[in-house]
């Protein structure tokens, strides 16, 4: 569960000006919910994610993750970034086991789980490969597996498929949908893609340009599991059209 109450973030620029990046953002994301934040560039959506990940220590308002205030990175939260950020000197398996190493949980105990995750993201047979031997899509699969290895309650995804081509992106979104449903994680996805947001989410949060405020929250009522055909239905188009209208209106 994620709660933000009047989350406000002010930056001080190099010139000494203070810029309001987030203005009283309040939302609650329940256990097992999949929520996406869409909004124009610079609306502060990545700032929200970084605050939740414990990467930005100073902010105003109340921010809670699993019912305790965020004071830094928490083992209950895992992040996947836009760049897969795989350490190039580590194999796929060792990259996936990195969080276990960092948290000193005993790598040996997690080998079986790593193998399961590698299978789940469709990379069986690539355990011993180096990142340089993988395609962009495969690297993001590893990044997702790495985020899941320590069995976090919450998955924060910062446009993980943003740099991929459209076809790879569709495939990975399908898999992400399947994985999220199967594992029951609470997911917060930051994205530029309205289609992606509607396809994956239970709720889509639409944000305004700076200062970032929540303009509207839209519930998406499609049953799961969702197939890619869904994106070409009229009702799906109504959702995306509506969000597009809100974004243009602001």
């Amino acid at each position: 569960m994620i709660t933000t109450d009047a989350l406000t973030k002010t930056y001080v620029t190099r010139g000494g000006e203070s810029v309001l990046a987030l203005d009283r953002v309040s939302m609650v994301i329940g256990d097992g919910e999949f929520v996406s934040i869409v909004g124009p560039s610079g609306c502060g959506k990545t700032t929200i994610l970084r605050i939740l990940a414990g990467l930005i220590p100073d902010f105003e308002g109340r921010v809670e993750v699993e019912n305790s205030p965020v004071k830094g990175p928490s083992p209950a939260v895992a992040v996947a970034f836009q760049d897969a950020n795989l350490l190039p000197w580590r194999t796929v398996l060792d990259n996936i086991l990195l969080p276990i190493e960092i948290r000193r949980l005993g790598k040996a105990k997690y080998r079986a789980r790593a193998a399961e995750l590698i299978e789940m993201v469709g990379l069986t047979g690539f355990e011993g490969k180096l990142p340089s031997e993988l395609s962009g899509g495969m690297r993001q699969r590893v990044s997702i597996a790495r985020a899941l290895i320590q069995d976090p309650k919450i998955l924060l995804l910062d446009e993980p498929f943003g740099a991929l081509d459209a076809m790879t992106r569709d495939v990975l979104n399908l898999e992400l949908s399947r994985i999220a449903t199967a594992t029951g994680k609470t997911v917060l996805l930051i994205t530029h893609s309205i289609t992606e947001a509607v396809f994956l989410s239970d709720r889509v949060v639409v944000m305004s340009p700076r200062p970032g405020r929540i303009t509207e929250t839209i519930d998406v009522h499609f049953p799961r599991p969702r197939g890619i055909d869904l994106t070409s239905t009229a009702e799906f188009g109504k959702y995306t059209g509506n969000i597009r209208k809100i974004l243009n209106y602001v």
Partner: protein
Amino acid sequence: MNDIASRRGTRWASQRIPVPKTLLSVVGCLVLAAVVLEIAIRAGAISAYLVPRPSDVLVAFVDGLASGVLLYHGGITAFEALTGFAIATLLGLTLAVFVAEIRLVESAVYPWMVAVQATPKIALAPLLIIWFGFGLSSKIAVATIICLFPVMVTTITGLKSTNAGFLDLACSMGASRWQILWKIKFPAALPHVFAGLSLASVFAFTGAIVGEFVGASAGLGHLVIDANSKIMLAEAFAALIAVALLGLTFFYAMQAASHRVLYWKH
């Protein structure tokens, strides 16, 4: 069809012997230069007082190896250079970590390191002889000082240029500063470190020889000075060739080590 066959033939040949081919061209170049020089000296175009005949140098080199003189003095120079290199590597890496990680150390120590680097090391060599004596330690000290800077600067650069995404990732996993240093920053800096070590591997021999020039009773540098003073140019050249071969060997050994450690770069 003939054309295709011959083209296929050359491609096959070049694929089969790529390394000997470059080696052959390098050795061929050397042999050609030696032959031209030999003819020029024998014909009287170059005075034999200034440049020894390559054949004489070869004889002096083989004699030096056979009598063990080159091996003995080469061994001493190699010991000085490698010890200096090793100390500089340990010291350079340690200092680099402190400079890169602690801002106070950076502002306090770094300018001094640059000042030492800006001073010509040859100017320091006589002082080091006074401090460390005429034995091996003064030469090791010169080699250390010469090697220290490239190792340190490249390592600092490497440690400071870590991909910001890697640092975010490590922070989000709750990594400690120590873990970030050893699991992320240091491995990521290794390509820089090895660039510095490659430079230092060549400088190490320069340092040892400079130290021996200033005052020594053994080592290839001493041999060069000694042969020069007796106007035994062939022997001086033989010693110089031995230095060059040692430096070359160590440099390529470093390259090989770098290739192994940076397996993920290739």
